[in-house]
């Protein structure tokens, strides 16, 4: 096991970070939706998948470069999220009041949405595995061969995630979002329109889901039944990073990528998912506020 130790370490680092990039991007959107809009979105993975299918359809029909497609898909995701919130989530939020009601309602409603989107995807695209070949060639990073499309996906994640972290930390808009995320009850006292911010948060989350889905479509094979896997991974990371904590989601995403790669390489690929869940459960028990949360 240790004969190639040094090389293995570098491999784990590089592959883990690249994998973690996608995870982080996926988790960012979910953490925004739950943190700011208080919606536990179980249909998140389906939204991700929908974007992936749209990218493939565009690529096949028009030959549009996936990177150009992402530039179009992300704002489209924002619009979809905006409408979803306005039409579906807002009435639930409005009637929920302060109790735990919204959690239950949002879980149920988005579970319905999960079926709905999955059904539409199945009718529209069938249940076959889908993938495209785009920049499939390898590039050597410190001696470790990595697919170019993954590196691009990684770059998109770092750019989108980094920009979001900076925007949340530095801008007035970000301050508003964070205020709502931390104390939704008292935000109106300082003149914040919580409904508008929640809608923005949800729309932004959907835009990130769409971006994540589109980047996944660049390098991974997927089918219309895979949504729940994405939701689950994103959930795990969100909890690990601390709900509503953007930087935490980024960090936890990378951490999970590293852990999975490490377990798969050094221990046993059969335990990769088990390790993910074990860590996740341990974090929940030990620090329910997340590894990077306060308190």
């Amino acid at each position: 096991m240790f004969r190639r130790q040094e090389k293995t370490l570098v491999t784990i680092l590089i592959l883990g970070l690249v994998l973690g990039g996608t995870y982080a991007l996926l988790a960012l959107g979910l953490t925004l939706q739950y943190g700011i809009s208080r919606i536990m979105n179980l249909a998140y993975g389906e939204l991700t998948l929908a974007a992936a299918f749209v990218l493939v359809a565009l690529f096949r029909a028009t030959g549009l470069s996936p990177i150009a497609a992402i530039v179009m898909i992300a704002p489209a995701g924002y619009v979809v999220g905006w409408f979803l919130y306005a039409v579906m989530m807002r009435p639930l939020v409005a009637r929920s009041g302060a109790g735990g009601r919204l959690e239950v309602d949002s879980i149920l409603a988005t579970f319905g949405l999960l079926f709905l989107i999955q059904g539409v995807l199945l009718v529209a695209f069938g249940s076959n595995f889908t993938s495209i070949s785009y920049l499939d060639r390898g590039v050597s990073v410190f001696g470790v061969p990595v697919a170019l499309n993954r590196l691009i996906a990684f770059a998109i994640c770092v750019t989108a995630g980094g920009a979001l972290v900076v925007a949340l930390a530095r801008t007035r808009w970000g301050l508003t979002l964070r205020a709502v995320a931390q104390t939704p009850g008292s935000a109106p006292l300082v003149g914040i329109d919580v409904n508008r911010v929640a809608r923005q948060g949800f729309a932004l989350g959907t835009a990130l889901a769409a971006t994540g889905g589109a980047t996944i479509a660049m390098y991974q094979t997927f089918s219309a039944n895979d949504g729940v896997i994405f939701t689950m991974k994103a959930l795990v990371i969100v909890i690990m990073g601390g709900v509503g904590n953007v930087a935490g989601a980024l960090a936890a995403g990378f951490a999970l990528g590293l852990v999975e790669t490490f377990v798969a390489t050094a221990i046993d690929p059969g335990l990769t998912l088990a390790a993910t869940f074990a860590i996740f459960l341990a974090v929940l028990l030990w620090r329910p506020q997340g590894l990077f949360g306060r308190g």
């Binding site: 592959l15 595995f129 070949s133 061969p145 993954r150 991974q220 790669t261 690929p269 059969g270 998912l273």
Partner: protein, 405 residues
């Protein structure tokens, strides 16, 4: 409980039972000029992908072909049109079992076609046996087929067992090793479910017996989407042969990952999915030399004709492993019906003992199993051709080493 809520409950119960009664009164029974054939396949859920590629298109293609010819031929020379009753089993065995009960006891269909997948076929086997229907299980790879035949004497197992495929692969690799083309090291991964475990359990002793060394041998969970770490380990292991007992998402993922990291083993073998028509597209047109489970005699006119009709009617070519066998199983059924009619007992006896002319050639079952199968195939010149058993008519020569991606 308050008085109001009791009344409410009673009324709700009444409404529900009315609804249930309405639901139970299903379609009327079969008519004489028609043959009703039912199946419960996965339209949704995890099994939908496999069923959608291998099972459903062949059922539809066959029904269409038979009906266009005027219907299913009967022993008396008459023809009856096929009427299909189809349910979605939602990839759940509980739903599947109920759907089969419905087909048998409610719809009283004349024949039932099996679902996709090993687990599904086993789940319905007791029901087929209890209702007396012959079960022509195709998409079920199991080493226990002889046992099952004893248990359910009207069950037929047409796709062989894990050990068969594993041994076939070892044969191919041993021949190449003996010729000095590859070294005696093998890197193997297997998906952690019944199928993957069956194959790796069959392969381990066979590899050892043939003098190979398994330098990398790990299983990965169903649902794994990232193979970079696994392939990077396999690449570093020094083995000339990479063997994956995998399912489609994994087979595809490993192919793409191997391509992008420039992993070029002399033998690149994957399992389910490798013979799918979409595989060359997944491999970005570089499927040449990839080995996978199954295969067809690509030069056979019957197979070529079947591929052409499948492509024309379904819209895409069939997969080159279980699709042709699935279609052949339907032809077996069709010919058996033409000889003995729809009586289940006679039908089962005929399927068990008769010989049939199908797209995969002349077929005669041994002990209710199809043993005349292709174990290993390889992409050569744009088609997926069978390479093992090498001594069987129609086998192509293996191409080793595989050209670089």
């Amino acid at each position: 409980m308050t008085d109001i809520s009791r009344r409410v409950t009673l009324r709700a119960i009444a409404i529900c039972s009315t609804a249930a009664a309405a639901l139970l009164a299903g379609p009327s029974g079969a008519q004489d000029d028609k043959v009703t054939i039912g199946y419960a396949v996965a339209r949704t859920g995890p099994n939908a992908t496999g069923a959608g590629i291998t099972t459903i298109p062949n059922y539809e293609l066959w029904v269409k072909t038979v009906n266009e010819a005027g219907g299913l031929a009967m022993p008396d020379g008459s023809r009856k049109m096929i009427e299909v009753v189809e349910y979605d089993n939602r990839s759940s065995n509980e739903d599947l079992v109920r759907a089969i009960e419905r087909l048998a006891s409610q719809d009283e269909v004349d024949l039932i076609l099996p679902p996709w997948g090993t687990g599904s076929n086993l789940a319905v086997a007791p029901l087929f046996a209890r209702f007396g229907y012959p079960q022509l299980a195709v998409t079920a790879v199991t080493d226990k087929a002889p046992e099952f035949v004893k248990r359910w004497d009207r069950s037929f197992w047409l796709l062989g067992g894990g050990h068969d495929y594993a041994k076939g692969l070892v044969d191919v690799l041993a021949a190449a090793r003996d010729a000095g083309t590859i070294n005696d090291k093998i890197a193997a991964v297997s998906v952690a479910d019944g199928f993957g475990i069956d194959l790796i359990n069959g392969a381990r002793p066979a590899f050892e017996e043939a003098g190979f060394e398994l330098v990398y041998d790990e299983s990965y969970p169903l649902g794994t989407s990232d193979f970079a770490a696994i392939l990077s380990e396999a690449q570093a292991s020094g083995a000339d042969s990479f063997v994956a007992f995998s399912y489609p998402p994994g087979s595809f993922g490993m192919t793409k990952t191997a391509q992008s990291m420039g992993y070029n083993p002399k033998v690149f073998y994957i399992s389910v999915g490798g013979a799918f028509p979409i595989y060359p597209g997944i491999a970005d047109g570089k499927a040449e030399g990839v080995m996978a489970i199954g295969g067809v005699d690509a030069d056979s006119l019957a197979v070529q004709d079947y591929f052409a009709r499948h492509t024309e009617i379904v819209g895409n070519p069939p997969d080159s492993w279980a699709s042709a066998i699935t279609y052949a199983s339907l032809q077996i059924l069709e010919q058996a019906v033409a000889r003995v009619g729809l009586d289940h007992e006679a039908l089962a006896a005929e399927i068990s003992t008769g010989s049939f002319d199908t797209v995969v050639g002349e077929v005669k079952l041994e002990d209710n199993q199809l043993r005349d199968l292709w174990w290993v195939g390889q992409w050569q010149g744009g088609s997926f051709r069978a390479i093992n058993p090498a001594d069987r008519a129609g086998a192509s020569e293996p191409m080793i080493p595989k050209p670089d991606w």
